[in-house]
């Protein structure tokens, strides 16, 4: 059983939800990646999404765009990130999921990329500009290497298509909770709960919700209908501002819930 499956089994056993933070690799320098991953694990992260900076991140809002620019200005490259993960993998036990647009992978060379991330101990990959129609370009090699391809569904994905995507069954299903790009939101679409419920019903793999989630209230509400949340922009901001205590508190959301119960 791979690390992602183990993680979700353990969460299920404990009857709790997954908090998956997203961080931009190289924001603050690549040297702090280890320290940050260790900290996130300590604060209770179920897994961590490591973002790869890209010059043209069309699915991202201003917070992650800015973090990406900072990372690129620091000279961060995909090669550098994969190398760093290989170095620090043994000090982090939770699953590490790489989130990258396709072009940096394409430039790296797909076969070489898959070999290198497997050796580095990366557990999964999210490629936001690669819908299932185009995944043939990398999916067979990822599968062969045992690296999970995490797929996305959104509010505009028809139910039949959600079923097809979920049935491919790698890792978990990443459910985008907004019509739009990443970044914090005060309100969600009124149909969100019904949508999450529908996704959860048809998905044979765990369902995580992401995009726009920043408050504990939202997290508790949303996880009534799914298995956890991905929190990006909020975490990126807290790290950039070095508000570690606030981050620890935010990340304790599901522990509090369990304690209260």
């Amino acid at each position: 059983m791979n690390r992602i499956e183990q993680t979700f089994q353990a969460l299920k056993k404990d009857d709790t939800k997954a908090f998956v933070p997203y961080i931009m690799a190289g924001d603050g320098g690549l040297d702090c990646l280890e320290e940050r991953l260790v900290l996130l694990e300590k604060f209770g992260a179920a897994a961590v999404e490591v973002g790869v900076p890209f010059s043209d991140p069309v699915a991202d809002g201003p917070t992650i765009q800015q973090a990406g620019i900072r990372a690129l200005n620091n000279g961060t490259t995909l090669k550098g990130i994969v190398g760093k993960i290989a170095e620090i993998r043994k000090s982090v036990k939770i699953p590490i999921i790489l989130m990258t647009y396709l072009n940096p992978i394409y430039a790296y060379g797909i076969t070489k990329f898959v070999q290198d991330i497997q050796k580095a101990g990366v557990d999964g990959c999210i490629i936001p500009d690669m819908p299932v129609e185009e995944e043939e370009i990398i999916e067979p090699e990822l599968t062969e290497a045992g690296v999970e391809l995490i797929r996305l569904v959104t509010l505009t994905t028809p139910l039949e298509r959600i079923k097809q995507i979920a049935a491919k069954g790698d890792g978990f299903l990443y459910t985008v909770t907004v019509k739009g790009i990443t970044g914090t939101r005060n309100e969600f679409d009124g149909n969100l709960n019904a949508y999450l419920k529908a996704v959860k019903e048809v998905s044979p793999i765990p369902v995580l919700a992401g995009f726009g989630i920043s408050t504990q209230e939202q997290m508790l509400d949303i996880t009534k209908y799914c298995d956890g949340v991905v929190v990006g922009s909020k975490i990126v901001n807290l790290l950039a501002e070095n508000k570690l205590e606030e981050m620890e508190n935010l990340m304790s959301v599901f522990k509090q819930k369990t304690n209260m119960a």
Binding site: D56, A107, T157
Partner: protein, 400 residues
């Protein structure tokens, strides 16, 4: 040779093209592809386009034999396909009308678009005024400075122009913002993409709407000379006027196809926009295509004196035509384009757009190579009024 039928149903031209977009947009581009297939079968749709093309745009545009330019070049006969005479001053209106009518058919009342030089923005704003559609145009801050007059034109036509300050603040960043806007507003908004780039079906749709250029050229040339031209020449940023000119000639193997990219300050400097000449395949804005990028896959900024060519990618179909060797791609520097801009003005009384000046500059070289027995058609994709201020400033400041 079997007839050319690309793209295939998944939007591929060979390995190029495809649909590399966030999942949020898959429904919209699938619907668009379906709506376009339906529209194509519908004679009403075609007659709507034809009526507007004739009475509103002023088609067909003339095919003009440029005798003075021909004498100057001292070789092949040079004809100009006068897309500069279209309403709004460039070929961009051909596509804007087609897509706006398609949006209306799909029940979408809002249009979002990107623009570089402003020609596509003006064409889009114009059609939106005509068809009573809401219009929002994303334009890089740098381009807004370079093309102030076009910004005012778009606003006059009722469009909202949004300044884009991310990245290099040029066309590629305007596309990013337009895509982000579309992701967030996909249900009631059509993205009226201006070039033969982006995810399938855009490269095909834009090519089809622009192919009126090549079809007319072919008919006009046949009428006059009872033969086909030996070569056609067009400038390339994303590549829409070139694809429109090339497409009807692809199966006519005796006709050479020449695309002209912007070499900026020179292709051996970092300041050019020659994606096919100097780039390598990669994925941006929904398509696999030739791209200017560094070795880590980060997209590089393009540079050209002409805002309309300032794009680090090039349509997937051009990428394919390069790969199979059906079309040839060249590059022309800022200086050569500026010289051609002045030359055509003085010799023919036609002030070309800086974009089109690249095609004119290359055609001078090609005419000399081919010799006096041959015929070349240059796509004069736009008129130069929009560039007069910028060229004047440059000439005053001394040529670099």
């Amino acid at each position: 040779m079997t007839a050319y039928t690309l793209p295939n149903e998944t939007g591929r031209f060979g390995k190029f093209g495809g649909r590399f977009v966030p999942e949020t947009l898959m429904k919209a581009i699938t619907e668009l592809a379906d709506a376009y297939e339906m529209a194509k079968q519908d004679p009403t749709f075609h007659s709507q386009i034809q009526a507007l093309s004739k009475d509103y745009v002023g088609r067909e545009t003339p095919l003009y034999f440029a005798e003075n330019l021909t004498k100057y070049a001292g070789g092949a006969k040079i004809y100009l396909k006068r897309e500069d005479l279209n309403h709004t001053g460039a070929h961009k209106i051909n596509n804007a009308i087609g897509q706006a009518l398609l949006a209306v058919r799909m029940g979408k009342k809002k249009i979002v678009a990107e623009t570089g030089a402003g020609q596509h923005g003006v064409a889009t704003a114009t059609v939106c005024a005509l068809l009573n559609l809401d219009c929002i145009i994303f334009m890089g801050e740098e381009d807004i400075k370079r093309q102030e007059l076009n910004v005012f034109r778009m606003e006059l036509l009722g469009a909202k122009v949004v300044s884009v300050t991310s990245g290099s603040s040029t066309l590629k960043d305007a596309v990013n913002e337009a895509l982000r806007y579309w992701v967030a507003n996909v249900e009631d908004t059509h993205y009226l993409l201006g070039s033969v780039s982006g995810p399938h079906p855009f490269p095909m749709i834009v090519r089809d709407f622009q192919s009126v250029i090549g079809k007319e050229t072919k008919d006009q040339f046949l009428d006059r000379n009872h033969s086909l031209p030996d070569a056609v020449v067009a400038c390339i940023g994303g590549g829409s006027n070139a694809m429109g000119m090339f497409y009807p000639f692809i199966d006519d193997e005796e006709v050479e196809l020449h695309g002209v990219e912007a070499a900026g300050r020179g292709i051996d400097t970092p300041f050019h926009a020659a994606s096919l000449t100097k780039g390598k395949p990669g994925v941006l804005h929904g398509a696999l295509m030739y791209l200017l990028q560094n070795e880590d896959g980060q997209i590089q900024e393009a540079h050209s004196v002409s805002a309309g060519l300032d794009y680090p990618g090039v349509g997937p179909e051009h990428s394919y035509l390069k790969e199979i060797g059906r079309a040839n791609y060249h590059s022309i520097t800022d200086q050569e384009a500026l010289d051609a801009f002045q030359l055509l003005s003085k010799l023919e009384g036609i002030i070309p757009a800086l974009e089109s000046s690249h095609a004119v500059a290359y055609c001078l070289k090609l005419a000399a190579q081919l010799g006096s027995e041959k015929n070349i058609v240059v796509c004069l994709s736009g008129r130069g009024d929009k560039d007069v201020d910028a060229v004047r400033a440059r000439l005053k400041g001394g040529n670099q």
